[in-house]
Every structure is written in structure tokens, then in C-alpha cells.
């Protein structure tokens, strides 16, 4: 592995270099405290030191709304929506967000592979950046370090006056061609400490959550929850979607579109005739959290939560997924201790 040093005041130059190779998508400042992944038009607008973007890079591969097919009502025919690979560089991605893309890759390639998602995923190149865990991040508890370079082509580790730039793949090496950087000899900085933790190792979470189906925490959480679905909306691993028809104003053509959906919304589990299989907010909270730490991880062997902290940071009711899981853990530990006694 080759390491270079990228000084802070050469970052814009580096971004400009990348922009000459391929389109670049990177975090940009949106408001006083918010950041968004956008197509970079001006290298100076790229922000590499940010706590989190509200929407992860998921939005590029699984767009909030997309056409599955278009139809003609006149001759009753349809054709598949057009999907292009995103031949682009994703710059300034945090390790948990790329881990989340890996989770989505699994979902859309397992069983019957989905053309829409997987076509978009072809050709993406990844330039990661380390981050300073804030009061919401807990990625360390699900095994994703802020310096985790897995899956990246290039990774930038932040130092005081710049970044250690690691070239991790041949694709990363070719991205750097024509951009001279001094080699970096010294090691990387010490491990970052998270402020938030889940209090059992991730390989025990299945066991804990399996015992927590009837925990009062679901009812208690539901007392504050307003069922808005923001937690689903900002989650980088949530992939559920709904499908709807849209007819244009001529009423001769239209499209069948999918859009993100969320299991926290009441209609999500409604069937014909009006039966709703998760009627209460408690049942929906349980479903959401169990999906992240039990239902899917039992099948895939890894938590479906990447510890980004978004669902907690953006919750309109101040509900913390870490607190929910830790409550399940402490109740479980108490019950096993009393069983031993």
C-alpha cells in the first residue's frame, strides 16, 4: 500500500484533478449545520470535514423516486425504464456509508438480481475520508472504524494540517496519475473514540434481540414516537419501496414508479380490505430495530445498522436507537443473571 500526504490547502487542487477524470460527487454545505452529497461543479465547494450528510450516497443508486417502466395507454404496451451506470467518483465518503452500500449490494444482488440498482452501481469509484465521531455516531459498535478503508479505492485520513492519502486499488492508483504528492512516512493517528456505544459485542446482538420481542421498551418508545418515518428516510441501509402509477396530463402515457417507503408508516403493512399487520407504533418500532439487529443479520451474518447515528440525530421525537438497544441489553443481562441465581 502506498501512502502520500495531501496538505489541506491542496484539497481543492486534488478535487479539480479528480473532476478532470470523471464526474465527482462529494459533500457540500447546505445550511448552517447540514451537508449534502452533490455533483461537484466547483472544487472549492467540497467539504471533507463534516459530521454526516443527511442522505447517504444511497440516493444515487436507489433514487428516492425512479421509473420502473413507462407505458402507453393507447396500445397498452410498456417498456423498462432506462438506467445508466454511474461512472463517477464518490469523494469524501465515510466508512459507515460505504459499508451501507455493501449492505444494499447484498439486497439487490441476492436471489434475483435487480437490474436498476446493480446497473447504477457499476463503475463507481470510492474516495473515503475519516471523520471525528460526534454525539450520534456509534459505528465502532457494529465493527466499522472511522479509518476503515474496506471497499475504498483511495482513503484520506485526516491529520491536523492535511490528510494521509492511501492508494488501495489499481483503480485508485490510476485516479492519482498526473497528480504529484509527497510520500507519507509516519503512521496514522491513534484510533478514534466513539461517544456512543452499544454495550455488547455485535456478535451477541442477535441473542439479545431474540430475547427482546416482548420488552416494554417498544411500548415506552412508542409513547414519544409520532410515526413520521424520518428514521427510515435517512437510514443508509433502508431499502423498502412502494410502487405507484403516474399518468401524464394527456392521459395517454405514464410510468410505473417506485419511491422509498418506510416500515414506520402505518400503511406499510396494510393489505386489501384494510387489515394492518403492524397497527401500533410499538410494533413498528420493534420491527424497525429488529430489522437492523436481528431479522436481516440472522440471514446475512452482519448487522443491518452501520452506526451512522442518522435515525437518532434526525428523529423528530428524540428517540435514540442506541438507547433502545442498550435497554434491551441491560434487561437481557438482568434476566440471565437472575436466571443463574
Amino acid at each position: 500500500m502506498v501512502q502520500f500526504f495531501l496538505e489541506s490547502d491542496r484539497v481543492a487542487e486534488f478535487v479539480t484533478h479528480l473532476m478532470k477524470r470523471k464526474p465527482v460527487y462529494a459533500p457540500h454545505r447546505k445550511g448552517r449545520k447540514s451537508y449534502s452529497f452533490e455533483r461537484t461543479r466547483d472544487a472549492a465547494g467540497v467539504v471533507l470535514d463534516y459530521p454526516r450528510v443527511m442522505q447517504s450516497v444511497k440516493k444515487f443508486f436507489l433514487p428516492p423516486r425512479e421509473q420502473l417502466l413507462s407505458f402507453d395507454l393507447g396500445d397498452n404496451t410498456c417498456r423498462a425504464g432506462e438506467v445508466e451506470p454511474l461512472d463517477a467518483i464518490f469523494l469524501g465518503v465515510h466508512s459507515y456509508d460505504l459499508a451501507a452500500v455493501g449492505r444494499l449490494d447484498h439486497n439487490f444482488s441476492e436471489g434475483r438480481a435487480e437490474r436498476n440498482y446493480l446497473t447504477r452501481r457499476q463503475g463507481a469509484l470510492w474516495v473515503g475520508v475519516s471523520y471525528e465521531p460526534d454525539e450520534y455516531h456509534f459505528a465502532g459498535s457494529v465493527g466499522i472504524d472511522p479509518y476503515d478503508t474496506e471497499g475504498f479505492d483511495i482513503f484520506l485520513t485526516r491529520l491536523l494540517d492535511g490528510y494521509v492519502l492511501e492508494v488501495l486499488t489499481p483503480a485508485g492508483e490510476s485516479l492519482l496519475e498526473g497528480f504529484d504528492l509527497p510520500a507519507h512516512e509516519a503512521g496514522k493517528p491513534a484510533k478514534k473514540h466513539f461517544q456512543q456505544h452499544i454495550y455488547v459485542p455485535q456478535d451477541r446482538l442477535n441473542e439479545v434481540m431474540s430475547a427482546s420481542y416482548n420488552n416494554p421498551v417498544w411500548e415506552e418508545t412508542a409513547l414519544g414516537c409520532v410515526g413520521c418515518g424520518t428514521c427510515n428516510l435517512v437510514c443508509p441501509t433502508c431499502y423498502c419501496f412502494n410502487v405507484e402509477e403516474n399518468v401524464d396530463i394527456t392521459v395517454t402515457k405514464g410510468s410505473r414508479d417506485r419511491h422509498w417507503d418506510g416500515c414506520m408508516l402505518r400503511e406499510f403493512s396494510e393489505v386489501a380490505g384494510g387489515e394492518v399487520f403492524r397497527e401500533t407504533l410499538a410494533a413498528r418500532q420493534r420491527h424497525r430495530v429488529m430489522r437492523k439487529f436481528k431479522y436481516i443479520s440472522e440471514k446475512t451474518g452482519q448487522p443491518w445498522c452501520v452506526g451512522c447515528g442518522r435515525c437518532t440525530a434526525y428523529c423528530t421525537a428524540g428517540i435514540s436507537i442506541v438507547n433502545i438497544v442498550n435497554r434491551c441489553i441491560s434487561d437481557y443481562e438482568k434476566s440471565t443473571v437472575s436466571a443463574i441465581r
Partner: protein, 283 residues
């Protein structure tokens, strides 16, 4: 990140593109239900198992999952029995023979008919639950010597709402079909049993170790039918049930049909009772 490392590059079929199939015939079953006979392009066989479903769509209206009502033993066309309950089903009810509709599937596991061979088959169907069960019933009738007895318990709200009435009469007459029917409330003309479906179960003559049961009906029905079957001594391992969920994609992607960790469109809609009796959201 290289996708090829994650999974072998699967063939990129278009999961959401329907084939256009022609409605060959429509038959009114009741005021609410219609039976559609559908033919795939070139008379291609659907290749389904009893208990599977297809996604049916009309452009500009929508798409929804429906059980296949015909038996795989009857080739060339397939049948869908559909109740008017919403926009799509209302519009479907207006369609005439010759119209084309979108079909995707078949999806779901369906009934593993091999496992049922040589056994007595008990079907418990409530209301529109007869539509998917009819696929299994006719499979057994068409392969009659592969199975033991065929016992059908059918419950309906009223005699006016009974489905497939001509076929019911056939089952009634057939020597090798033991057909029992009850209605919650009969009209003055109704001569048969009155009462909920569970009232049929105590009187059944069952060879318990050799009986497999398939249940399909409205959500409220399952618990009571299960209780009645248990009190007869039918073992859990001999019970299968077909469950309903909202399945938008049919291929395990959209998340709508989850019961805890199980996807109804993948692991169901027909479940072996021991596999779901601890899933608290199943019923």
C-alpha cells in the same frame, strides 16, 4: 468497491416488466368476485404450483398480487378469482375478454404437492380463501390416485356469497370428494349448515396421522380453525397455511410482506405451521 467480488454477476433480467397476457374469458362468480381466464403470449404455460401468486397490473391503475385459482394440471390458460375491493380490482371487473393485462410471476413457494402425496388432504377455506385453495383441490382431483381422501371444509358469510357454485355441486356429487359447507347466515332458501367454519371440524372423520391440512381465509379465521384442529388432535406438523401480505415486488426486494424476518413472497405465502407459530405478527 468491485461488485463482482460481492456476488457473481447475475443475469440482469427485468424483474418489474410484466408480460402482456390476454383475458380469454370473464365469469361473474358473485356480485363482488369475477373469475378471469388468462392466456400468456403464445399459449405459454404459466408453470405454477398450487398456492402461488402472480402480480397483475393495468397501466395507469396499478399492480397487486393475486392467487392463482386454477390447477397446474390444467394447461394452456390459468385462472384468477378476484374480489372488488379497491381501484385496481374495480377496474379489472370492467374488463372484457380480449383485453390484455400485465402479468409477472408466478411468485412465492406454493404448496409442495410432493409432500402431500399418499396423504389425506384436508382443505379449510373461508370466504375468498377458496380461490387459492381451489388450485390445490383441482390438482388433487386431477391426480386423484396420488392422494388419499380429499376433504373440503368451506365457510362463507352467506349462501349468496358462495364462489364457484357449479363446481361446489360437482364436489358434492363426487364420490371421492368429501365436501362440507357452512354459511354464517343463510337466506331462507338455504338448506345446508349454518354457523362459522369451525363448526364443521368436530364432525370430521379424520385419519389423524395420515392427514395434511391447508388453511386459507380471512386473518381472523386462522386462530379459531387452529384451535379446532388441535382439539381434534391434528399435529402441528400436518398443518399448512397460506397468508396474505401486501407484496409490491414479489421478488424479495420491496420489504412490504415481511413477517418478522420472513418474506411472504419468498418463504410463503404457504407456510408450514411449525415454522411460523412463534412469529407473533404472522396472524
Amino acid at each position: 468497491m468491485n461488485l463482482n467480488q460481492l456476488s457473481p454477476r447475475a443475469e440482469m433480467e427485468d424483474l418489474y416488466l410484466p408480460v402482456m397476457a390476454e383475458i380469454k374469458e370473464t365469469r361473474r362468480l358473485t356480485d363482488l368476485e369475477t373469475l378471469y381466464t388468462v392466456e400468456l403470449p403464445d399459449g405459454r404455460d404459466l408453470g405454477h404450483r398450487p398456492g402461488q401468486f402472480v402480480e397483475v397490473s393495468m397501466f395507469g391503475i396499478g399492480e397487486a398480487p393475486f392467487s392463482i385459482s386454477s390447477s397446474p394440471t390444467r394447461k394452456g390458460v390459468f385462472e384468477l378469482g378476484i374480489r372488488k375491493v379497491g381501484l385496481l380490482t374495480e377496474k379489472l371487473a370492467e374488463l372484457e375478454a380480449g383485453t390484455k393485462i400485465g402479468i409477472r410471476g408466478p411468485f412465492g413457494n406454493g404448496i409442495d404437492v410432493e409432500k402431500f402425496q399418499g396423504k389425506d388432504v384436508l382443505i379449510v377455506a373461508g370466504g375468498i380463501g377458496l380461490v387459492p385453495m381451489r388450485s390445490m383441490i383441482n390438482h388433487v382431483r386431477d391426480r386423484r390416485d396420488d392422494f388419499g381422501r380429499l376433504i373440503i371444509c368451506y365457510g362463507s358469510r352467506s349462501d349468496r356469497e358462495l364462489l364457484f357454485t357449479e363446481e361446489l355441486e360437482e364436489w358434492e356429487r363426487e364420490k371421492r370428494t368429501e365436501y362440507h359447507v357452512t354459511v354464517d347466515q343463510g337466506s331462507p332458501a338455504w338448506k345446508g349448515n349454518t354457523g362459522v367454519i369451525t363448526t364443521l371440524i368436530p364432525g370430521l372423520d379424520l385419519d389423524l396421522p395420515n392427514t395434511v391440512c391447508c388453511i386459507c381465509g380471512p386473518p381472523v379465521m386462522y386462530r379459531f380453525v387452529l384451535l379446532a384442529l388441535k382439539s381434534r388432535g391434528l399435529a402441528d406438523r400436518n398443518i399448512y397455511m397460506s397468508l396474505e401480505r401486501r407484496m409490491k415486488c414479489g421478488v424479495g426486494k420491496c420489504g412490504h410482506c415481511q413477517i418478522n424476518g420472513s418474506y411472504v413472497c419468498q418463504d410463503g405465502p404457504v407456510y408450514h405451521y411449525p415454522d411460523i407459530k412463534t412469529l407473533q405478527e404472522a396472524l
